[in-house]
């Protein structure tokens, strides 16, 4: 209802505009128009309805303004001469205007005139009629909204107008919309079954959810129409199911990317070095806080470059988290190599210290990290609406993964890293400074966690507890994917993300998550070393 009112107001404005520029729609002379206008003040609503359709059939550009006035209750009929005029209340009088010529008339006392009454049915007629009228407008937006209006009202009366409009229409998008509207109107009319079936085919070719709304009333119909409607509904439903699946996959990929970002640093420290770093989540948290600080500095010094704040935060977060990582490795972890359970406890202690440090420094509540403009907004893909941030996070996670692979495979540091993890003593005797490589490897893992923090600051609350929310999930990803294999981490993260999103609709978000945890626990029993496990003697501890 509100929509129609809004639409009428819009069309009214456009109609007035139209009137002044005298668009090249047909214009009939005053003598033809006048009696039709007078007929609006008929004795009952049926007369008025007929008058409206007669007016519309003239195709005159003034009609839409008139009808709008009628819908808004601005048309009056004088008690004395039964003439119809456009009135506007002013004190005890109506300021009157001729509805056909637009000439100013003498004010009419309020007691001497009567409003032409409209009921809801009439209002619908009016809206449909206006819709039909503006179908011929020059303005493409106007034509589009007119077609959309008919799609909503499904008035069979507008079918002939639509035929005209479709014939004249050049814009294929609007033309399709008009055909849809016509089909919708046909479904709402008493035309023979064959035409209805054709209309059903037409409708089901359009937007699935709208079509479903149009076809559902026909679902129970008998005969071939009902049959056609039912089969169309089921095919639309299966199409929607496909899009739902696509949505789940895309949402799952974006959740998986978040998991990948959080876990990939862990895949290095745990997977490559065998160090259980329970403070990994805090490295992510520190990265997020670095983003916050960078943005604060930019806001204070150069607000103009705020859109680039994340690009500046990336290296900053890498360095800060990486630096903290190196510090932790040198001060604690290096004394605990080969004692994974002790490492786990010590790093848990570190995580408590880091959390409390951030809490003392920045306060316990969330800090506000802004989104740059290119992260805001959304775009459409088929029947889906996706936010840009969702897309960016997928792109970002995959790039981080690719760069990390390159670093490990192609650089000297990567080569040394792999050498040290495969045979520490041999690497050391070949002149590789293993302690140095250890520290850098740990720093790399932590730095990547920091980068993940930059990304997560865009989609999650930045608080001292940020890391705690990710640590268990990250471990699950690494363990599920298989330790010591970055590809495993990628596949693990994505499949867990997608599994989560597919379970959510059936089980709800929390239960879905619980199910995923239980499934992983069961999975680890079956394959204790994950999806992509290394085999062989060397792995046996």
């Amino acid at each position: 209802m509100q929509f129609i009112r809004l639409l009428s107001a819009l069309v009214l404005m456009l109609g007035i505009f139209h009137h002044t520029v005298e668009a090249h729609a047909q214009t009939v002379d005053e003598a033809t128009l006048r009696p039709l206008v007078q007929a609006l003040a008929g004795d009952n609503f049926d007369d008025t309805t007929k008058a409206i359709s007669d007016l519309v059939r003239t195709g005159d550009t003034r009609v839409s303004a008139l009808l709008n006035a009628l819908g808004a209750g601005d048309l009056y009929v004088s008690k004395a001469d039964k003439s119809v005029f456009l009135g506007k209340r002013e004190g005890t009088d109506y300021v009157a205007t001729d509805p056909v010529t637009g000439a100013k008339l003498a004010p009419v006392p309020r007691s001497a005139a009567e409003k032409i009454k409209v009921n809801n049915r009439l209002r619908r007629e009016i809206a449909a009629a206006i819709g039909g009228l503006t179908l011929m407008s020059e303005n493409a937006g106007e034509r589009r909204s007119a077609a959309e209006a008919i799609l909503k009202t499904r008035d069979p009366e507008s079918i002939p107008l639509l035929d005209q409009a479709i014939a004249a229409e050049k814009d294929p998008g609007i033309k399709a919309l008009m055909s849809q509207a016509k089909a919708a109107a046909i479904l709402n009319s008493d035309v023979p079954d064959a035409e209805k079936i054709a209309a059903i085919t037409e409708v089901s070719a359009g937007n699935g959810r709208d079509a479903l709304g149009l076809l559902t009333p026909l679902e129970g119909a008998e005969g071939p129409v009902g049959e056609a409607a039912r089969s169309a509904i089921s095919s639309i439903n299966s199409e929607l199911a496909v899009w739902n699946a696509v949505q789940n996959i895309v949402y799952g990929l974006s959740l998986g990317s978040v998991l990948l970002l959080a876990a990939i640093g862990l895949a290095i420290t745990f997977g490559v070095m065998g160090v259980i770093n329970m403070a990994h989540g805090e490295m992510v948290m520190i990265g997020a806080y670095t983003t916050f600080v960078v943005q604060q500095v930019i806001r204070a010094t150069a607000p103009g470059i705020f859109d680039y704040s994340l690009l500046i935060a990336l290296p900053a977060a890498f360095l800060v988290s990486g630096g903290v990582g190196v510090l932790i490795e040198r001060s604690v972890i290096r004394f605990l190599y080969g004692r994974p359970l002790e490492t786990l406890l010590a790093t848990w202690g570190i995580s408590l210290v880091l959390q409390q440090a951030i809490r003392s420094w920045f306060g316990a509540s969330n800090v506000q990290v802004g989104n740059p403009s290119w992260m805001a907004g959304s775009f459409e893909l088929g029947l889906l609406t996706l936010t840009w941030s969702r897309l960016w996070i997928i792109v970002f996670a995959l790039s981080v993964f690719a760069i990390l692979q390159l670093v490990l495979k192609k650089t000297m540091l990567g080569l040394r890293m792999r050498a040290v993890t495969q045979n520490r003593r041999m690497a050391s005797s070949m002149g590789i400074r293993t302690p140095w490589v250890d520290a850098l490897t740990f720093g790399l893992g932590s730095g990547i966690a920091g980068i993940a923090g930059v990304a997560l600051s865009q989609i999650d609350n930045v608080s001292p507890n940020l890391g705690q929310g990710y640590i268990i999930d990250s471990f699950m990803v690494v363990v599920f994917g298989g330790v010591g294999n970055l590809w495993g981490t990628l596949v693990g993260a994505m499949s867990l993300g997608i599994a989560n999103k597919f379970l959510e609709p059936f089980a709800g978000a929390v239960l879905g998550k619980i199910l995923v945890l239980v499934l992983i626990i069961l999975f680890i029993q079956k394959r204790p070393r994950g999806l992509f496990a290394l085999k062989g003697r060397a792995i046996e501890a």
Partner: protein, 248 residues
């Protein structure tokens, strides 16, 4: 060849790890009461072979039979140990935070269920048997020591003692004399020969002096399959064996 009437029977056994063939179509037969020495360069598959016999590794293909009838590939480590196959590891693996005596108590044959151990009381027979083994492996004086405090050689002997306590039909002994002095090595050879009088033994060793002292049939493994088999002199004169050991 038939598995019947053999103690240990391996036929066409293969296993690979991530594409690397650790054992390749290996066949080996051990008669009851026989002692056999296995030699071969590093990576020849000696330890993997022991892993397969003791159920630690499942072969991809091939038959492994014990006593001519028991399919070892269908059992796990504990079951295989209870069937009567004992194993000594390359790196001496004793229970470091237990005393020497407790190490033997754990190894001693007897009921292995959790509840029976909870209410287990040591019998006179068991104590006697443990003392006997302690004398055999010359650790009677050190029986209250923690195993962690033993020397490398003593740990090796303790592990052999644990094998004896297990009372197995077949002993798999992986590099028993690594890190031993010459005198200790000679003692160990003597000990193993004594053991072999009543049981079957499979010894993996690099030390040729030791193998010579054992004076038994030798099998040389290379790249996961048998390269040569026979007396030590026969095997060590085989051209392929020489190539494998000296490189080509």
């Amino acid at each position: 060849m038939n598995a019947h009437d053999t103690l240990l029977y391996l036929d066409g056994v293969s296993v690979s790890f991530d594409g690397f063939r650790a054992i390749n179509n290996l066949s080996l037969v051990l008669q009851a009461g026989e002692m056999r020495a296995i030699i071969g360069p590093n990576g020849a598959g000696k330890t993997t072979m022991m892993d397969i016999i003791t159920g630690k590794t499942r072969p991809d293909a091939g038959d492994v039979y014990f006593n001519g009838e028991v399919d070892l590939t269908k059992h796990d480590e504990a079951e295989i140990a209870l069937l009567g196959i004992g194993r000594k590891f390359q790196k001496p693996t004793v229970f470091e935070s237990h005393t020497v005596e407790d190490n033997l108590v754990l190894a001693l044959s007897g009921p292995r269920s959790a509840f029976s151990t909870l209410f287990h009381r040591q019998s006179r027979d068991e104590i006697d048997r443990i003392h006997e083994i302690l004398y055999t492996i010359r650790l009677y004086d050190k029986r209250v020591w923690l195993a962690a405090n033993l020397s490398h050689g003593q740990k090796q002997w303790l592990e052999i003692g644990m094998l004896l306590a297990q009372d197995p039909k077949l002993l798999l002994v992986d590099e028993p004399v690594a890190g031993m002095t010459d005198a200790e090595t000679a003692e160990t050879a003597k000990l193993l020969r004594d053991i072999a009088k009543t049981r079957s033994v499979l010894v993996v060793e690099h030390d040729m002096h030791f193998v010579r002292e054992l004076g038994v049939k030798v099998t040389c493994l290379h790249e996961g399959s048998v390269l040569a088999e026979g007396s030590l002199d026969f095997v060590s004169n085989d051209q392929r064996v020489i190539e494998v050991y000296l490189g080509r």
